[in-house]
């Protein structure tokens, strides 16, 4: 059955190519929906520069589980040549991915970030996007309120800044209440401060599962949530905190209506659409204590959020070679670099890429990277942490549960996770 299918397909291919030559057709499963159009353009440019190779970008819906999509495409024998996913996806499917450790770009990748290394020592992920998040501030609003963002190092400093901004008539900040934002990113800071690196995270998760962690005694968690309490208090949408949608927030921070917004640099395209000043934004760390010297008060989480893996099970040698070519093209060709940095607005993880990002949030992240003031980016090795603990954070946001209740739910989550 399958063989007949393959036969028919190749026949159709040959026929469609007018019996001239068979194209190598490769696919990239894109799990970053917001750059779908840009990637499609990049694919066209790549094919133009590499005749004989066509690249098809397959989109996935935001909010769907990449894990499920990937399991099904493998089950059905339709694996894409290239797959974009996070650290956990890379590790879970590692036996299906090619080892990339001999690729040229390995040497040029920035040592700020860890490679995805499997137990057997192979490297399975091409670091595609560097992202960071923190407290985004609007320069114009802060200037008007007389706040210097570089002087905010503690929770008290932040509260003082909120007050000053409010005094000018603008809103202090807006909190985006999505479960992924609160669960994975905001609370991720506490995990990051406790774990510090991948090995630390593995140990922390193991301790959590064993019930050995008392969250209420963890300074990072309690300090971070103290700050969150302050944020809740000054949230412009305090009255209906959960009704705020992801697309409303940029409409507040962009046109100078609020001073601060907790989010990552991926939201720049939306902010840009509303911004009065295309340069007037930056990040400050989310403070976690009232001692400026404490670890975490000066850095923001930055990490490789999407890697690209190369399938070795269901794609032909020619397809795999073409896939490698595309990855190299992204790092070394002028058009590839332009596509990544300027078109997709991505901060590359490679030292050789000299192009400066244009957006102020990416620039701000680059500064933190340059100063080595970055925190370890948490990729939680539990697939539903963002959703379940994110739901607990939402309850805490609207005071459905108190601090003790939140701690209990976090510990409960880990106790029940397998």
């Amino acid at each position: 059955m399958k063989r007949i299918g393959v036969l028919m397909l190749s026949l159709a291919l040959v026929l469609s190519a007018g019996l001239a030559y068979a194209d190598v057709h490769i696919t990239l499963l894109n799990t970053k929906g917001e750059i779908q159009a840009q990637l499609e353009d990049a694919a066209k440019a790549f094919s133009a520069e590499n005749p004989g190779i066509t690249l098809d970008i397959q989109p996935t819906p935001t909010g769907s589980s990449p894990f499920q999509i990937l399991s099904s495409v493998y089950a059905s024998g339709n694996a894409p040549t290239l797959y974009m996913g996070d650290t956990n996806d890379m590790i879970q499917f590692a036996d299906k991915f090619s080892d990339l450790k001999n690729e040229k770009w390995i040497k040029d990748s920035s040592d700020n970030f860890e490679q995805v290394t499997t137990a057997s020592g192979s490297i399975v992920g091409f670091p595609f996007t560097v992202e960071g998040y923190g407290m985004i501030y609007n320069k114009a609003v802060l200037a008007k309120a007389g706040v210097d963002p570089s002087k905010i190092h503690t929770t008290k400093d932040l509260e003082a800044a909120f007050k000053k901004v409010q005094a000018t008539g603008a809103g202090a900040l807006v909190i985006a209440p999505m479960d992924w934002s609160l669960g994975a990113h905001f609370l991720g800071i506490a995990y990051s401060l406790t774990a510090k690196d991948q090995a630390g995270l593995n140990k922390l998760v193991a301790d959590f599962k064993a019930g050995k962690v008392d969250v209420s005694k963890n300074k990072a968690f309690s300090g971070l949530l103290d700050t969150f309490d302050v944020m809740k208090k000054y949230n412009v949408r305090k009255a209906d905190a959960l009704a705020v949608t992801y697309d409303e927030c940029p409409a507040l921070i962009g046109p100078d209506k609020v001073g601060f917004y907790f989010q990552g640099n991926w939201t720049w395209p939306q902010i840009s659409g509303f911004a009065t000043d295309q340069k007037g934004f930056g990040f400050i760390p989310v403070p976690i204590s009232n001692n400026p010297a404490d670890f975490g008060n000066s850095g923001i989480p930055v990490g490789v959020t999407k890697y690209i893996a190369l399938d070795k099970k269901q794609n032909s040698a020619a397809q795999q070679a073409a896939g490698k070519k595309f990855l190299e093209w992204l790092v070394y060709s002028k058009t590839g670099q332009d596509a990544v940095v300027n078109k997709c607005n991505i901060i590359p993880a490679f030292n050789n890429v000299a192009l400066e990002p244009k957006d102020p949030l990416a620039i701000s992240i680059r500064q933190y990277v340059a100063k080595k003031q970055t925190l370890f980016w948490i990729n939680m090795p539990a697939p539903d942490h963002w959703s379940k603990v994110g739901a607990s954070m939402q309850k805490y946001l609207v005071d459905k549960i108190d601090r003790a209740g939140l701690y209990a739910e976090i510990q409960d989550y880990w106790k029940n996770v397998k």
Binding site: G63, D179, D240, L242, A243, D384, A391, Q394
Partner: protein, 294 residues
Amino acid sequence: MRTDKRRWEQTKNALLFMGPSLLIFSTVMVLPFLFGILLSFTDWNGLSATFSFIGFGNYSEVFHDKVFWSSFVLTLKYVLCTVTLTNIIAFSLAYLLTGNLRGRNFLKAGFFTPNLIGGIILGFVWQFVFSRVLTTMGKSLGWSLFATSWLSDPDKAFWAMVIVTVWQYSGYMMVIYIAGLMSIPKELIEAAEIEGASSFTRVRKIVLPFLVPSIIVCVFLTVQRGFMVYDINLALTSGGPFRSTALISMNVYQTAFLSQRYGPGQAEAFFLFLVVAAISLTQVYLGKKQEIEL
């Protein structure tokens, strides 16, 4: 010879007539159903090629899972509300629409429209209505009820789902009730009208007894759909805010595909099957009994 040939002929015909249906039915329904029961006793994680049997482990995990129970209780509440409201509204519409009324067919067709469209699309339509249209109305008219989106409050989001479901199915059930009402002899109602029986008495004494079969069908259909609803849940609230509106189908889906825990997911699904089966059977039994008594 002759009988042999006839035998062969018969077998051939049986294969020809029932073969395709039976083959597909057993590979799509029966086999997965049995395999599912088996699966719920294993620790399969969705990826590995092997799995081992763990007895009732998945079931005991599901029964100790607070999230599962709260979603189950919510589903019961949802089924109760939608079944009652849908049937009351559908019956009222049907009752108003029988009798000589100008534009009856047009009205009937209009009320039926939401049923033609899939739950996903209806969910998105209402998501827009709840989060944009009603909030704007609420703000400009000063109605605090609509000032914030219903979908961001757990209780109101629940009622939003109920409203959309009732809205969708009323038209469908209305059609069934109309058919039931048409089967009532006209003279009977007219006689009662002229005798001066109040419309309430008329409904209670004449209409309802005749409608028992229609009521059974409608309740059966609404109960079944209520337990299995997924599309509207997904498109309207996606289970939010904070997972407070994830009905049981969504819970099964999330346990299996989001948390990647297939065994417990299948255990939840099988539990859902038992509940639906028990309720359906009880209801059919009660209905048949009442039908006979009348």
